[in-house]
């Protein structure tokens, strides 16, 4: 059973309403699924229209519905036919007596809708022509009863329908033009307008499309009925091209060909002239809309017929004097078409438009839009006229500049458009001046008169929004005023003018009085009214954001910098000007000196005014100042800023009351000092996408870094191949070894040496001691005082010696209770750019040159650790370091270094690529060792790099310190004190020391030390000169005394060893080199040595000559000593060594060899 689907059920009027609503809002699905769509729906609607029980209103709605949705509904030609049949039925039905006018209007709507639907389905197959012919015939039947009384409006509508068909299918009616003309002539009611317009449309297509060349317009050659679609349509349709059917406004191109054809057919030309002269009598009888349509039709025809423009002028000149905007516009349309013939009338028209815009409160329902339109028309017109004839500038400008002063009660929209006109006048006047200049052969005779009036134009014009100065910044007046400033400023250089891409070079803004005037106005009013600040800022931003007028914005900032900043009062109000200052600081072309000075002064004021109530304000203002400083650092070369900014920041660090501000200032200062220009800017710019717009307050975005990305651990492995930490001074002993003393190491923390212990009883737990009360401390003190008393009987010499030692040890800090003595090992950190880039993968833009192309590392942290007893080694921080350039780049960067180096001098070269690192050790025991170095740093791309660097070796010489001199020893007595100390220690370290069981209290009184000495000798077979040089080079600080005249003579002249005790060995027994005891003690060694010497040969003995002696006292932290007594002979030197830390002797031997023999 395949029966066609049953037709949808008829709908009630309510359902129709819903359906229409749904269709209008695009809610189709609920209807289409039940087949209420397409042709069936059309059929349903048409049958509903014929139903008697439906109201006419609903029927009208149905018609409109069909019309508006015809594209989706009328998918089959049969529907069109059905529509036409229904229309015929309706038209022919008599009007019910009770609702004559209603049924007329229903019929009219039906005609309109049907025509509309037919037009929309405009591509006809040949078969469909019959349907179209049917419609046209029906319409013609209605139309063909001129002057008939009551249905005149229906006839008018039918004419409209025919006209619309003619417009959609040009030349459709051209063969019956004669009939239509006849009807036109006989119609006398108001409906005549529609007949006339229909005729005009037919004539229009005849002339423009020229498809029916053989038809006479005067004599009807074809009968009106039956109507046939002209043959040309069939021909046309064969081409399958109906795109010509569009009635566009592209008549012009057709007109030219049409007019040439017309000339050839002379008879036709005369006919057309007759028709057109008939038509031209009509405008005064037409409605406004009718006139507009009429002109649209007849103007091309008049053009083609080459009618005199004066004819048209007479007919239409009245239009411009009416208050109907549409008619005025129609007139302007005609004027634009016939610019040449209307030449010379532009001033009259301009004046008319000026007057029109004045119809204050009288125009259409007080609606400002028509006034705005007339100003726009005027602007458009002037541009058009001037575009054709430049000489008319002056007259326009003169007239309009006077007539377009905004009036007080003009709406602001109108005021602002009038100000546009004023700006345009200023351009015209200015260009006129320019023209004059060129005309005078380049001599700069500026038309003073006109340019002064330009300024006056601006000043007078702006008066109407003068409230902009003091009204809040969001007021409409300010918006209008700044819009006007903008127009006046950019007026002379339009964006489309590509030749003048860089106007700044061509013309200095200060040349033009208008610029000066604007600048003056802005500065003056901003000084007075801080409310303008946001406006100024967005104004400048607007200019800066423009590819063409950026220079104007910069110029404005420069002028503000020069003329505005010096005039500012330095008080709290200054804060409201910060947005402007921010913009100034962000501009590279403006020198920041003045601004920095201002900010510094403001900082001073803030500090001075700071009080309990101003905490928040100080913080706020201080942060803002720093914000501007930051902007400066981002946008300016550091070199130009450095002096002022560093001063400002340093001042803030020191004195600003707010902690956070101080902190930030410190950070900035550090960055400014350490990081070179481009890197600094990049760093500060992180997180900021728009360089022009800086953050409003402080540097929060600086801390707002991207989430850290860790460097690939694989890459970190070879980190030491490109990041190097090296000692500044290389070790003397290259091959280092470390004496491993496991016993000592084990109890490293407790007591490294048995001689070194607390003076308390060992059983007493430390914790208790720490928590002990003050009584305990008192007892401690007592104990100390007791200890200081000599316990045993000694001779005076010994007691003197012990006294010296006591004093000495009392000044040695006990590292277990106090910060210990520190050893500093200077190192240098550097890294290799090329390898770094390769490894980290940071890509530096290839176009950047010099230093900017080098990678950098930021916020580097070096952490140290060691297995040697060096205590806790503090980590070291390096804010910024630049990579070492590849060799060939060196010269390159050198040439460019001038503008980037912060400390701009020659020696900076190294500093930029090398960071000094100081490793601080707090040795528990003086012994060489190895320090492991761990680095953590950030690359340019904020990648975190970390890894192990090569270790740093620590030699015994690193441990060498000068003896600690107690504070109470006067400076001039220091050499003697040192010598005495030397002697005492020398004595104490002797094997038969009388101090062997003596203990010495360390500083703080908690720890005690005992001396257990060891001695050794070393013969150095080096000539005395090289020995002296070596001593001077490496041991000079530790020399406490030089004895022996020859030696003194040599050493004293060198001035390297100073402030020591110089003693002739003969005269002073104390300084006599071989101390009797020592000689005795060292006897066996000495003898052995002598034996060796003897074996070598007597000549050595003979030639050996004593020159003198160096006494060298070296303090080894934490509390040991190394003593040298160097007995210098001319070819060899005997070094006697004593120490209270015997393990060090192992290293000393090597050291001495490295020092003197190599």
């Amino acid at each position: 059973m395949t029966t066609p689907p049953p037709p949808p059920k008829p709908l009630s009027s309510q359902e129709w309403e819903t359906l229409i609503e749904d269709y209008n809002h695009g809610r189709l699905h609920r209807w289409t699924t039940y087949d209420y769509a397409g042709p069936p729906l059309v059929d349903l609607a048409l049958s509903s229209i014929l139903r008697k029980d439906f109201s006419l209103h609903l029927k009208q709605r149905l018609l409109i519905f069909l019309e508006e949705h015809s594209i989706s509904l009328f998918t089959s030609p049969a529907s069109l036919l059905r529509l036409l049949e229904t229309l015929r039925l309706v038209i022919q039905s008599p009007n019910p007596n009770d609702a004559v006018s209603l049924s007329f209007s229903f019929k009219e709507q039906f005609l309109i809708s049907t025509t509309s639907i037919f037009i929309v389905h405009g591509t006809f197959a040949t078969a469909d022509f019959e349907t179209l012919e049917g419609l046209v015939e029906l319409l013609l039947t209605i139309v063909n009863r001129p002057n008939h009384g009551i249905d005149r409006q229906t006839r008018a509508v039918a004419c409209e329908c025919l006209r619309e068909l003619e417009l959609a299918f040009p030349c459709l009616l051209s063969e019956i033009a004669a009939h239509i003309w006849g009807l036109c002539q006989s119609e006398r009611t108001h409906a005549a307008q529609s007949y006339v317009l229909l005729l005009a449309a037919v004539i229009h297509s005849i002339v423009v499309y020229d498809k029916a060349p053989n038809v006479s317009i005067l004599n009807a050659s074809t009968p009106l009925f039956p109507f046939n679609v002209p043959r040309i349509f069939f021909e046309n349709d064969k081409d399958g091209d109906d795109s010509d059917d569009i009635v566009g406004d592209d008549d012009e191109k057709n007109v030219s060909s049409a007019s040439s054809n017309l000339k050839e057919t002379n008879v036709r030309y005369k006919e057309l002239r007759r028709v057109i002269s008939f038509l031209l009598e009509w405008p005064q009888y037409l409605t406004c809309g009718g006139v507009l349509e009429f002109m649209r039709m007849t103007m091309p025809v008049a053009n083609a017929l080459e009618l005199q423009a004066s004819l048209l002028k007479v007919q239409f000149s009245g239009l411009i004097y009416t208050f109907d905007p549409l008619l005025c516009h129609a007139y302007l349309g005609m004027y634009l078409r016939l610019l040449d013939s209307f030449d010379g009338q532009e001033m009259e028209i301009a004046n008319r438009l000026v007057l029109q815009s004045k119809e204050l409160y009288l125009s259409y329902q007080n609606n400002v839009v028509f006034q705005l339109l007339s100003v726009h028309w005027l602007l458009g017109l002037i541009q058009l006229v001037i575009g054709r004839d430049v000489t008319k500038r002056k007259s326009f400008a003169d007239v309009m500049s006077l007539s377009f002063y905004p009036a007080i009660f003009d709406p602001l929209a109108l005021k602002s458009l009038k100000l546009d006109l004023a700006a345009y006048c200023s351009v015209l006047l200015d260009d006129f001046g320019t023209l004059k200049r060129y005309a005078n052969g380049g001599t700069m005779t500026v038309e003073v008169g006109s340019e002064v009036s330009v300024v006056k134009l601006l000043e007078d014009g702006l008066m109407c929004v003068s409230g902009f100065k003091w009204l809040p910044p969001w007021s409409t007046e300010t918006a209008v005023a700044f819009r006007t400033f903008h127009k006046f400023l950019v007026g002379t250089s339009s964006h489309s003018d590509l030749n003048e891409s860089d106007s700044s070079s061509k013309r200095s803004p200060m040349e033009l009085p208008i610029f000066c005037a604007i600048q003056g106005m802005l500065i003056e009013s901003t000084l007075k009214f801080q409310g303008l600040v946001p406006l100024i800022v967005s104004f400048v931003d607007r200019l800066l954001g423009c590819y063409k007028h950026r220079w104007l914005g910069e110029w404005l900032l420069e002028t503000f910098n020069e003329s505005f900043i010096p005039k500012l009062n330095i008080d709290y109000k200054l804060g409201s000007y910060f947005p402007i200052l921010e913009r100034i600081s962000a501009n590279e072309r403006v020198s920041p000196t003045g601004l920095l000075e201002l900010l510094a002064n403001y900082m001073v004021v803030l500090i001075k005014k700071h009080g309990p109530d101003t905490g928040l304000k100080s913080w706020c203002q201080g942060s803002k100042i720093l914000g501007i400083c930051r902007t400066m650092m981002i946008h300016h070369h550091s070199s130009s800023l450095f002096l002022g900014l560093s001063r400002l920041l340093a001042f803030a660090c020191l004195y600003f009351p707010d902690l956070e501000v101080r902190d930030h200032a410190r950070t900035y200062l550090r960055m400014l000092v350490c990081i070179p220009g481009k890197k600094l800017r990049d760093l500060l710019n992180i997180g900021e996408q728009l360089p022009g717009i800086s953050p409003s307050t402080n540097s929060s975005s600086f801390f707002n870094l991207q989430s850290p990305r860790y460097h690939d651990p694989k890459k970190s492995r070879n980190i030491s191949s490109y990041i190097h930490l090296e000692r500044t001074v290389p070790l003397l002993v290259r091959q280092s070894w470390s004496l491993s003393l496991p016993v000592l190491r084990l109890d490293d923390d407790k007591q490294s040496l048995e001689s070194f212990k607390d003076n308390k009883t060992t059983g007493e737990p430390k914790e208790l001691d720490r928590s002990s009360s003050s009584i305990e401390i008192v007892s401690d003190i007592n104990r100390i005082s007791q200890l200081q008393e000599p316990l045993r009987v000694m001779d005076s010499k010994v007691s003197e010696m012990v006294g010296i030692l006591r004093k000495h040890f009392a000044s040695i800090p006990d590292f277990r209770h106090f910060p210990g003595l520190k050893i500093k090992i200077p190192c240098v950190l550097s890294f290799d750019s090329e390898l770094f880039n390769h490894s980290v993968g940071t890509s530096i833009p290839s176009d950047s040159c010099g230093i900017d192309s080098l990678p950098a590392i930021y916020a580097t942290v070096l952490k140290f650790s060691s297995s040697a007893p060096y205590g806790n080694i503090p980590s070291y921080h390096i804010p910024f370091l630049l990579g070492q350039p590849v060799k060939k780049d060196y010269s390159f960067s050198e040439t460019n270094s001038l503008d980037i180096v912060p400390v701009g001098n020659g020696s900076a070269e190294d500093k930029r690529f090398k960071a000094h690192v100081m490793i601080e050790l707090e040795p528990r025991e003086p012994q060489p060792g190895v320090i492991n170095v761990h680095i953590q740093t950030n690359a340019d791309n904020s990648e975190i790099i970390q890894g192990q660097l090569h270790s740093i070796k620590v030699g015994i010489e690193d441990m060498f310190l000068k003896a600690i001199v107690p504070e109470d020893v006067p400076t001039e007595a220091v050499p003697n004190y040192c010598l005495d100390l030397f002697n005492a220690l020398w004595e104490a370290c002797g094997t038969s020391s009388s101090t062997g069981r003596e203990t010495f209290v360390l500083k703080g009184g908690k720890g005690v030390a005992a001396i257990s000495g060891t001695q050794s000798v070393k013969l150095l077979e080096v000539p005395f000169m090289s020995l002296i040089q070596a001593v001077q080079r490496c041991l000079a600080p530790f020399v406490v005394s030089v004895t022996g005249e020859p030696l003194i003579n040599i050493v004293k002249g060198g001035e390297i060893i100073r402030e020591v005790v110089w003693k002739d060995s003969d005269s002073d027994s104390l300084s006599e080199a071989p101390n009797p005891d020592a000689r005795l003690d060292g006897g066996p060694l000495y003898i052995q040595y002598m034996d060796d010497e003897n074996e070598k040969g007597p000549h050595l003995q003979i030639s050996k000559r004593d020159m003198g002696c160096f006494l060298i006292l070296i303090f080894l932290p934490p509390r040991f000593h190394l003593l040298f007594k160097m007995e210098v002979c001319d070819v060899s030197t005997l070094v006697r060594v004593r120490t209270d830390h015997w393990p060090c002797l192992a290293y000393v031997d090597e050291l001495l060899e490295a020092l003197f023999i190599e």
Binding site: H25, G26, H57, R61, S101, F104, Q109, I112, V120, G149, Q153, C161, E164, A168, R188, S243, I246, D249, Q284, L286, T287, C288, G289, G318, F323, H329, L336, Q356, E359, L360, Y361, L362, L402, A407, I408, F409, P411, L412, S416, C464, G467, W470, L471, P472, W474, S475, T476, A479, R483, H486, K487, V490, S494, H495, R542, C546, K548, H549, G575, S576
Partner: protein, 609 residues
């Protein structure tokens, strides 16, 4: 949701064809492709609401502000973009965005009327380029500018006419120019004369119920009319009235006749066999019916005076009068009427515009004569404006001085009708002190003449009340006293509503001034109050609330201020007919402002030829 929309398939078809043609000729190289897309009602409404959000208000900023975004109307930086708007229809499903321009926006009562006139695709492209420029804004000499575009597009002008007419119909605001006859104070409009002449008694008042909107389009494309107003009283009858107006006024989308009175007369009355067209002359389309009955001509000259009175040496007072001549010619047939304009030599009268039925007088010299063929009913014959040489009918000064933050002393010294003689008489005169931003607690003081009424926001001094008209003498009136206000409370201006919104006031710096810094209490108060000021719309002349002033309203009858007059004897009718000519004249106050002499006041430079 739109309440009513009309589409014109014929116009839509033209648009589609134009787009096809454009895309054929433009080829693939053109980056901007115009798609013949027409939105549905709901899409249009959604886009409209979207634009409202983007542009801050229904009309938008109009001027480029810091809130403007590229691609929006205010980016074009022209106040007219508050009336000619663009819409972006985003079709999310298809990922397409359609740019619709020019949408004509007219706000009338609670209704938003939108119309979309037909333009060429290249116009649309030009505008799209204009609102997407990356530079700092249009300069005037630019190649592509709005002015040239508007000059090139009468369809936009037409669309404005259409939406204005429809707006009036929708709100029931159809009024005819007032014509005053000596017998009855005011004469009715066209329908009265029509019904009077053909014997139909009475007529329904123009539909005054708020009709659910309707829509339209003009010289062109589918118009759609959307309204945010609540759907009240959308009776189908009213909708149909609107629909039938649209069908008759612009059957195929092109407005042919926008005269509502003519169209509704034809709808209501139709034509009968009695309506015989004139035998000897053509009947104009704008006069479908001819008058039959007793013949007469009535003229009413109506002047409105706008005054800004400063009473300061450095600022001259400004006074302009705009006048119009309304006419009602009850004449049979289709006669021509002409008369000379007298009294134009004395004052600086600028003739502004005329009714389309008038033939424009030859200008040059003082011989202004107007000839016109009158339409039926009341009509506005001509407009003029006088900006010089008028004596203000109310002259004097107003001073208000704040003695403390909430207390002020004021003084008026006025002279009324100085230098004016009979027949000009003053019907009423009221001076109002307006305090839109402060509440008045009390007003003490007795005027030398008249009575005082005070409300919360104003104090009204009725110097002369209607019924006690004054003529032939000048009156001196003084009024001094004190005012007490409710203490001023700072309130944050609402962020929405104003055109420009309020710029985020993140800076607390504005509040750094303590009262001590400002010695003057008035300055302090002004400073304080100005922070709360809201931006006015661009359609206002200035921020009224920022100033202190008193407003004068009055009505004078009997003559004009400018001297503009029509001599009834010199009115000639052709073909000659005996018909009495009546003339009446009245002057009313427009913006008649006495600025507080002690306060700030807006000024405008005056033209000096």
């Amino acid at each position: 949701m739109p309440l009513r929309s009309s589409r014109f398939p014929v116009v839509e078809r033209r648009w589609r064809l134009a787009c096809d043609k454009e895309s054929q000729s433009a080829g693939a190289t053109d980056s901007l492709k115009v798609v013949p897309y027409l939105p549905t009602d709901s899409e249009l409404a959604a886009a409209f609401i979207d634009r409202k959000k983007r542009e801050g208000s229904v009309r938008g900023f109009g001027i480029r502000t810091s809130h403007s975004v590229k691609g929006s109307d205010s980016w074009v930086d022209d106040p007219i973009t508050r009336h000619i708007i663009s819409l972006n229809i985003d079709k999310e499903e298809q990922g397409e965005s359609h740019f619709i321009w020019p949408v004509i926006l007219h706000v009338k009562g609670p209704f938003y009327l939108l119309a979309l006139p037909l333009v060429e695709p290249h116009h649309l492209k030009t505008y799209a380029r204009m609102c997407n420029r990356s530079d700092c804004g249009n300069t005037i000499g630019e190649d592509e500018n709005l002015s040239s575009l508007l000059l090139d597009l009468p369809s936009i002008t037409g669309a404005f006419m259409v939406v204005h007419t429809i707006g009036d119909i929708v709100t029931g605001d159809i009024t005819e120019p007032e014509v005053v006859a000596s017998a009855s104070p005011s004469v009715g409009g066209l329908l009265d004369s029509l019904t009077g002449s053909i014997g139909i008694s009475g007529r329904a008042k123009p539909v005054a119920t708020p009709i659910a909107a309707s829509a339209t389009s003009s010289t062109s494309v589918s118009g759609t009319l959307a309204s945010d107003a609540p759907k009240i009283g959308s009776r189908s009858l009213d909708k149909d009235a609107l629909q039938s107006f649209i069908s008759s006024a612009m059957p195929f989308g092109t407005p042919m006749d926008l005269s509502y009175s003519n169209i509704s007369a034809m709808k209501m009355n139709g034509f009968s066999s009695v309506d015989v067209p004139s035998a000897d002359s053509k009947q104009p389309a704008w006069k479908p019916y001819l008058y039959r009955g007793k013949q007469r001509i009535l003229f009413t000259i109506h002047e409105t005076v706008h005054v800004a009175m400063y009473d300061r040496d450095e600022i001259p007072d400004s006074i302009t009068a705009s006048g119009q001549v309304n006419c009602r010619a009850e004449l049979e047939g289709l006669p021509d009427v002409s008369f000379p304009l007298t009294g134009l030599g004395s004052a600086h009268v600028e003739l502004l515009s005329f009714h389309p039925c008038a033939q424009v007088p030859e200008h040059g010299g003082d011989k202004h004569a107007v000839t016109f063929s009158p339409p039926l009913g009341n009509f506005l014959l001509m407009r003029y404006q006088v900006s010089d040489g008028i004596r203000p009918p109310v002259k004097g000064f107003y001073q208000l001085s704040m003695v403390s933050e909430n207390e002020g002393a004021f003084l008026f010294k006025l002279r009324l009708m100085e230098g004016y003689k009979t027949p000009l008489s003053l019907e009423f005169c009221t001076v109002t002190m307006l305090f839109p931003r402060r509440m008045v607690v009390s007003c003490d003081g007795t005027p030398s003449i008249g009575t005082v009424f005070s409300t919360e926001r104003s104090v009204e001094w009725r110097i002369i009340t209607s019924g006690r008209g004054v003529s032939g003498k000048s009156i001196e009136a003084t009024f001094s006293g004190t005012l007490k206000f409710v203490p001023w409370q700072t309130k944050k201006p609402p962020s929405s509503g104003s055109v420009f919104g309020s710029i985020d006031d993140e800076d607390s710096d504005f509040e750094t001034d303590s009262p001590n810094n400002i010695v003057n209490v008035e300055d302090f108060l002004a400073e304080k109050m100005s922070k709360d000021l809201q931006a006015v719309d661009l359609e206002e002349p200035f921020c009224w609330q920022a100033y202190s002033y008193a407003k004068v309203s009055f009505k004078m009858v009997g003559s004009t201020l400018s001297g503009m007059s029509i001599d009834p004897k010199s009115v000639s009718i052709f073909p000659a007919v005996k018909a009495p000519v009546e003339l009446s004249a009245q002057v009313t106050s427009g913006e008649y402002i006495l600025w507080n002499t002690l306060g700030k006041c807006p000024v405008a430079a005056t033209r000096k030829a």
